[in-house]
């Protein structure tokens, strides 16, 4: 019992801190203030990730729409050229027939 009392008395004796104690405590508190909290860090990563996903989706959808429009333009131009060729051929053949008729079938 006396041994334990003696130990307790020694452990609870007031001691002065080391000379750099104050500086160390101040430095540690500033470092903790600079570091964001874990929750804030996780939230900011989540928000950035979501915005990045929205931006990527918008780019993909927009690109797909632009590609479809381009394909439609190509298809339309091709159809237009085919139509003009077809009508040109029809007009020339009708004209040839007309010429035959007017010349009595002889050339």
């Amino acid at each position: 019992m006396n041994g334990m009392d003696e130990e307790l008395r020694r452990a609870l004796v007031r001691r002065d801190p080391s000379p750099d104690f104050t500086a160390r405590v101040l430095a540690a508190s500033q470092t903790r203030a600079a570091e964001p909290g874990l929750l804030r860090s996780w939230l900011s990563r989540l928000l950035f990730g979501r915005w990045a996903a929205v931006a990527a989706t918008t780019l993909i959808v927009g690109g797909g729409i632009a590609y479809q429009q381009h394909e439609r333009d190509v298809q339309g131009e091709t159809a237009k050229q085919k139509l003009l060729v077809a009508l040109q051929i029809a007009g020339m053949k009708l004209q040839g027939t007309q010429r035959h008729v007017l010349s009595g079938g002889e050339r």
Partner: protein, 191 residues
Amino acid sequence: MKRNLFLFVTVLALSFGTEAQEIKMPVNLERLAERATEAVDVNLDASMLQLASGFLSKRDPDEAHVKQIVSKLKGVYVRSFEFDKEGQYSRSDLESIRAQLKNPAWSRIVGVKSVKGENSEVYLRKDGEKIGGLVVIAAEPKELTVVHIDGPINPEELSELSGHMGIPSMKLGPQKKSSHDDDENERQDER
């Protein structure tokens, strides 16, 4: 039983009605492309015509005129073949189309045969009092062309394209023949 019979007859009548209007390009015509030096194959149904029409310029007078012609059409189909020598096709290649044109809905309005073997036929389909379709068959020794225009078309409208879009202009009515005119016409036909 009576209802089923009525439905059967209705469907049959409708199918005949549809067949009377459609001209199907025979498969054997497609095979001529293998022997042709140049082949033109155009298949524009109503939706493709609408798409093409959207790309025609209203500012260009020729294209605006074409836009007007096409606005009423249901389809434009062309098979045209040029060969390097004669005898690359036969009359039987056209029999399938001619058989379809024997339908009462179709009338042959022009049939021209020439000693040079340049034969032309023009068929029109009546749709009431209006023209509902046009088929032109132009058979030359080294060239064969079949044109089918489905829908209300006036051949005169196509003739109005004369002098435009690469179609040579043609003056109607009696005119003095000159060697220059004959040469020009031959050059245009060879094209």
